[in-house]
């Protein structure tokens, strides 16, 4: 038992904590506020508190918990909404009062089915049994390794009751897991396998692999949150962990409400059932925001170990980095760039490096993909968090204010973004590499020509360059632009993406040929391209007909 000696917001100093370990959890004061040791000198400890410390005073007690900051993992996670320390927000009061008594514990029962036999060896990470949880993927109970001495028969099982004894260890449905240390796996898998997001600009031009890492930098108003919500809703992951770290409360409410209403296109159940929402909004305790990205990744690794593909969406990592900065400055740590602590880069790397597609200890294949939003102050892409993040991600979707102002969503800037595994992934699809090469080539050319056109006026350019401008417009409007509000366009299957791209490429090809055949380019520019531009709203089988309508009309301009 120690004694609080100094309180400065979330920074608390304690005396008399002999034997404490770095990053050990402590509870502070009469309301037992959670905290974590971040520095030790003799028996004096510096603690970051995870809750508002108003009223906490020197002289009050502090107590060691004997374990590092841990999160409670279990079948209750799917479909739930939690705070940054993974405490359920459902069923607690309207106001989050740190001095309120802790919420009642979750004593739901789950339907357990054993999948391992008594007396058999169950190597570490293999499946002992499964739990049904609605329409979501079954929750698997994994072995700590050893011989199965006892296992529970099929039937309802409370969260905290033992389901098996393996290697002398009692296994329960839920367990406490330290969040700052990555869960182990057997091996990383090198070859990239694409994650389908349903967003055309991403899937064709800037793909992300299962186990990949993405940063999404964008100033306010560029549609970051909407893009991330679209991916959370439509990507083909088994489990999505949505971490709102320091974002708007109304938007979190929106995410939760929408997930609850929407049907999962793959299972027919609710989307919410495959989603874990961590909602540590901007006015919730700042230090719990710092912890929230680690709890999010820990949840993801937990499901990865069951052999699932998991996507972690963190909105936004800039707010998380600000929490690091805030604590650094209170602690008196020497600031590096823009007041951020010197270990900012290490902290970012430690987060993004927990992504990966792996062979689990039990021999299954699973992945954790991390998509982190970045909110660059003043839209400045050279600021430390944006700049450092770019070093650790394989894919970057930079959002562009000009596109957003023109109401072109998703406002992903194709020249300003990158996807380092794009070629390898495109090559795995028949015709994929060529399609991607042609679309990005046309966009690059249009970009170059439009810079020129702004100087000399489009009318004075040679015909081929004017066709390039036209092609750029057609692709931007008919392909890259995608409406999150349209039921048909919100999500686009990879096959449909390919169809749309090919239809537009065919139109562009015809324009090229016609201009080469001395058809005046102005005549092409006045053509009505509406049918092909509206193809993204049309049923899939009509896309070819819409393309042919435009091709025939073009033919008529000869």
């Amino acid at each position: 038992m120690g004694t609080v000696t100094r309180v400065d917001g979330p920074l608390v100093e304690i005396e008399g904590l002999a034997g404490a370990a770095m990053f050990e959890s402590v509870v502070l004061g009469p309301h037992r506020l959670p905290g974590e040791i971040i520095a030790l000198r003799g028996d004096r400890a510096t603690v970051q508190a995870y809750e508002y410390t108003g009223g906490l005073a020197p002289g009050q007690p502090a107590e060691r918990r004997g374990a590092p900051l841990s999160a409670r993992l279990g079948p209750h996670l799917l479909g739930g909404v939690f705070d940054g320390l993974l405490r359920p927000l459902g069923g607690v009061g309207m106001w989050l009062d740190p001095a309120a008594p802790p919420a009642r514990t979750d004593d739901r029962s789950w339907r357990f089915t054993p999948l391992a036999g008594e007396g058999r060896a169950a190597p570490r990470g293999t499946t002992l049994g499964s739990v049904e949880s609605g329409s979501s993927p079954p929750y698997l109970v994994l072995s700590p390794g050893g011989e199965v001495a006892r296992i529970r028969p099929a039937g309802p099982c409370p969260s905290r009751a033992p389901v098996a004894v393996v290697g002398g260890v009692e296994v329960t449905l839920e367990r406490e897991q330290p969040v700052r240390r990555a869960l182990p796996y057997a091996a990383r898998l090198p070859e990239p396998v694409p994650l389908t997001t349903g967003q055309r600009v991403v899937d064709l031009l800037l793909p992300v692999s299962l186990g990949g890492t993405v940063a999404v930098p964008g100033g306010f108003g560029t549609g970051k949150t909407v893009l991330l919500q679209q991916i959370a809703k439509w990507c083909d992951a088994d489990v999505v962990v949505y971490v709102g770290c320091g974002e708007r409360g109304n938007e979190m409410a929106d995410v939760v409400a929408e997930l609850g209403e929407l049907a999962d296109p793959r299972t027919g159940g609710r989307l919410a059932d495959r989603t874990v929402v961590i909602a540590n909004t901007s006015n919730m305790p700042m230090m719990a925001r710092e912890a929230s990205v680690y709890t999010g990744v820990t949840v993801a690794e937990h499901f990865r170990d069951m052999g699932y593909d998991v996507v972690v969406i963190a909105d936004s990592t800039s707010r998380w980095a600000e929490a690091l900065r805030e604590l650094g400055s209170r602690r008196g740590a020497l600031p590096a760039e823009e007041g951020y602590p010197a270990d900012l880069a290490s902290a970012l790397a430690a987060f993004y490096e927990r992504a990966g597609r792996v062979t689990t200890l039990g021999g299954a294949t699973g992945s954790v993909t991390i998509i982190g939003a970045v909110s660059p102050p003043g839209g400045d892409m050279t600021e430390p968090v944006t700049a450092q993040t770019q070093r650790f991600v394989r894919t970057l979707w930079a959002l562009d204010r000009d596109l957003a102002y023109a109401r072109h969503y998703p406002a992903v800037s194709w020249p300003g973004s990158f996807a380092r595994d794009a070629d390898a992934m495109a090559a795995a699809v028949p015709g994929g590499a060529e399609r991607r090469g042609r679309v990005s080539g046309l966009l690059a050319e249009a970009e170059r020509v439009s810079a020129l056109a702004e100087l000399v006026g489009a009318g004075t350019l040679p015909p081929q360059e004017r066709v390039a401008l036209l092609a750029g417009q057609l692709i931007a409007e008919g392909f890259l632009r995608q409406s999150a509000l349209s039921p048909r366009d919100a999500f686009c299957r990879p096959e449909r993406t390919a169809l749309l791209a090919d239809a537009l490429l065919a139109v562009v090809d015809r324009c090229r040929t016609l201009v080469e055949g001395q058809v005046p380019v102005a005549r092409l520019e006045q053509q009505d391209f509406t049918p092909i531009l509206r193809a993204k709203e049309a049923p899939e089988k009509e896309i070819a007909a819409l393309r042919d309508t435009v091709l025939a009309a073009l033919e008529g301009s000869r």
Binding site: V4, T5, R6, V7, D8, G9, Y52, T53, G54, G55, A57, P58, G59, Q60, V81, L89, G90, V92, G93, M94, W95, L96, F220, G221, G244, G246, R248, G249, N250, M252, A253, D254, V256, A257, A279, T281, S282, N283, M284, P285, E322, A323, R325, E326, G328, S329, G332, P335, E338, G339, S375, P377, G378, G379, D380, Y405, A406, R407, G457, L485
Partner: protein
């Protein structure tokens, strides 16, 4: 938010050992809690209020809201309340004009309430938030049509110095309503000049007399530190009106730049490591703790809409104050000199993220979202055409571009331009909007449905 008997400070006087900027350091007899309320008594008998910024062994650093001018180490005594700052809440605030700390300026008695509440508030459980979905009508055409305020939303007004943003804020505060439901305004003036405060007071007089307004005035020559308290007071009063009494409440916070400067001043006095432009690294969290107090609560009537108003220093939207505000608020109304007449709202840079949920059939007009999108798209094309005309001359423009320039002209003249004392009904605003889009031929209006066009489009004679 719990009702409780008045809490009297345990009378405990302590020594002042240091004075520095707005801070005093006192030696206490017992452990004083962080963020605890302090009461400072000068030799003259004058009382000031403060909060504990840091508690270190038997020393407490107290920030004094009225400033430390005139405080001597000798003879000054400090007492602590034993809890963070609380104020009375309830209907007693309605119709009152008080200073930035809630003391009457209207000659009335001090405000009492049956309950009291901590001014810091508590975070609202995000799972119990109801996504905002009904409009607040401001009677300002450009806002109601293009950047509709939605009940429970927070939306900022960004302005460059010298534009009438306060007049606009006051006009909104005077006219806003929730279509017949109980509507209340809490207006927090933060560091306003006497002249500005007088304008605001005049504009809001009627609403105040009707008992629908609480006005908190922290003036430019009031103590800077008091500014940190004013918005918290306003929001605490508003939270009770909204979530305990079921009112639709609009909180106007003007000017937040003055607030942030006060936060910076305390931060500098404490010797904290500065972040951007010497604002402290926790400015985002601090602003969020104010703006995030907006919202609606599942299963309860009432809503709390927050309208922070701020001047962008040197017109720079990337300055930390507008930048961090923009990251927290759900949209912005941008005032610019480039847009001619009052209210100077730039329709292209202004955005209400919640708008789509708050407009349409049963809320405003069925065609609202499409009509607004159509006007913004046309204005965007007009802006391009104008840029082109500056390069090549207006005579070189195509017919389509010229029509769009005519639309922009009609927009400015008929819809945007509005007097400061002119409340416009929704019907009036929509009449004007249709008049504006009807400048274009029907075939140009691809974002509007044929039914909407049949109902609203006006053939030109």
């Amino acid at each position: 938010m719990t009702a409780r008997a008045p809490v009297w400070a345990p009378v405990e006087y302590t020594d002042v050992v240091e004075l520095r900027g707005p801070l005093i350091v006192v030696r206490t007899a017992r452990g004083v809690g962080w963020d605890e309320q302090a009461s400072i008594e000068l030799e003259t008998g004058e009382r000031r209020q403060g909060l504990v910024l840091e508690a270190d062994h038997d020393l407490a650093v107290v920030q004094v809201f009225e400033g430390t001018a005139g405080i001597r180490a000798e003879g000054t005594r400090v007492a602590f309340a034993g809890h963070p700052l609380r104020i009375p809440v309830g209907p007693g605030w309605l119709g009152r004009v008080c200073d930035g700390r809630g003391r009457p300026l209207d000659g009335g008695p001090p405000v009492f309430g049956a309950a009291d509440a901590a001014v810091n508030g508590l975070p609202l459980n995000p799972t119990l938030r109801e996504p905002p979905s009904e409009p607040v009508l401001t009677g300002v055409s450009a806002i109601d049509l293009l950047t509709t305020l939605v009940r429970g939303q927070k939306i900022a007004v960004f302005s460059v110095g010298g534009l009438p943003h306060l007049e606009l804020a006051a006009q909104i505060a005077a006219q806003a309503n929730a279509g017949g439901e109980t509507f209340t305004v809490v207006f927090a003036a933060i560091g306003l000049t006497h002249a500005d405060a007088a304008t605001v007071r005049d504009t809001l007089e009627e609403r105040s007399a009707a008992g629908e307004l609480t006005l908190l005035l922290n003036l430019a020559d009031d103590p800077v530190i008091e500014r940190i308290l004013t918005p918290r007071l306003a929001l605490t009063i508003a939270e009770h009106l909204a979530f305990a009494m079921g009112h639709h409440v609009l909180v106007v916070l003007a000017d937040m730049t003055g607030y942030c400067e006060a936060v910076r001043e305390v931060s500098a006095a404490r010797g904290e490591i500065p972040a951007r432009r010497a604002y402290p690294g926790y400015l985002y969290s601090d602003l969020a703790s104010l703006y995030e107090r907006c919202g609606r609560v599942r299963g309860r009537p009432g809503s709390l809409t927050v309208l922070p108003v701020l001047t962008m220093p040197a017109g720079d939207i990337t300055h930390p104050v507008p930048d961090l505000t923009g990251y927290i608020t759900e949209g912005q109304i941008l005032l610019t000199r480039d847009v001619g007449p009052y209210p100077h709202i730039d329709p292209l840079s202004s955005l209400s993220r919640m708008m789509r949920a708050g407009v349409g059939a049963g809320r405003t007009r069925p065609e609202h979202a499409d009509l607004a999108a159509q006007i913004v798209a046309a204005l965007s094309r007009a802006r391009q055409a104008r840029e082109l005309a500056e390069l090549v001359g207006e005579s070189a423009l195509g017919e389509g571009d010229r029509r769009h320039l005519a639309l922009a002209e009609a927009f400015t003249r008929r819809l945007l331009a509005q007097r400061g004392d002119e409340p416009r009904s929704l019907a009036d605003t929509f009449g004007r909007a249709w008049e504006v889009v009807s400048v274009l031929p029907r075939r140009d209006l691809t974002m509007l449905s044929p039914e909407a066009l049949d109902a609203g489009y006006r053939e030109r004679r």
